[in-house]
Point group: C2
Chain length 171, copies 2
């Protein structure tokens, strides 16, 4: 177990207060409630389609990285292939996702959103972006910078790497 800062010599008294269990706990609870808000709008929309959060996640990342393979998506989502397969199957069957056999490596399936899939993706992400945008605007640019910084520190390093490669493609 690490030294948790109570006796750390390099911290200012402001930092000592800032790192009290109480303060950290507030952050934990804020994270819990905020995540509920974060998923609330897409969840509401998904009810109309008989899809769930799992479908949303798949659609999101296929939209983000078109042509991604199943294996790649597995890595990003952190679920088992059986679990992802169930979701993908329904999305392919319903005509929202196109699964194309790889040209170089025919074992691979490359995933793309169809027009229909893209429409749902737009609907979902627009709802989610609207909330985020409102929060960002209310909080201001500096707060957003801090928000992003703390989130990056919270995730596992592996996910942090994954996120940075993903955003460098997408930008």
């Amino acid at each position: 177990m690490q030294n948790q800062g109570l006796a750390a010599p390099s911290l200012s008294s402001e930092n000592l207060l800032f790192l009290t269990d109480e303060q950290v706990r507030k952050g934990i609870e804020a994270m819990f409630f905020a995540y509920r808000g974060f998923t609330a709008d897409p969840d509401r929309i998904l009810e109309n389609y008989a899809y769930g959060r799992a479908h949303h996640r798949a659609i999101h990342f296929i939209s983000r990285a078109p042509g991604t393979t199943v294996n790649n998506l597995l890595e990003i989502l952190g679920v088992t292939k059986q679990s992802l397969n169930r979701v993908l199957r329904t999305l392919v069957d319903d005509g929202l996702v196109d699964s194309r056999i790889g040209t170089r490596d025919k074992r691979e399936r490359h995933l793309y959103l169809t027009e229909k899939g893209n429409a749902l993706e737009q609907e979902l992400s627009e709802a989610q972006r609207t909330r985020m945008r409102a929060a960002y605007r209310a909080a201001g640019p500096d707060a957003v910078q801090g928000f992003r910084t703390v989130l990056e520190q919270m995730m596992d390093p592996r996910m942090r790497r994954l996120l940075s490669t993903m955003t460098s493609i997408g930008n």
Copy 2:
């Protein structure tokens, strides 16, 4: 649908960039990955006890507000009472939670952690706090302030009120 800022006259060019769909989308993905990190440590611990995240949440908020009623907890957790009841039953049966019939209103149950329940709560929250603390320390005080501000803006107003009353008790 609201004006999303692209033509908003009061925004600086820095803000225009800052509010691009791409930037917002990065935030969404960061939130997703960070939440995974956020729950990873408690989840690992819970495996040893045959409990899940739902048990953790109940334990957390009972610890936070000892003597809270089932109804109150329902409000905080945002699940159905039947769902919460299953979790509470196992916790009571296993001797982690004490459920006392209300004195004023005998319909109510007031919930308390037992010594055993407190021990698990400590183990779980210490693991979670350790990660949060590390993230906070790496990000710095200003970033943490921004983090908290954005999270509060992201949650539903009802939850924001709930959080503020909760923290005013706990502090």
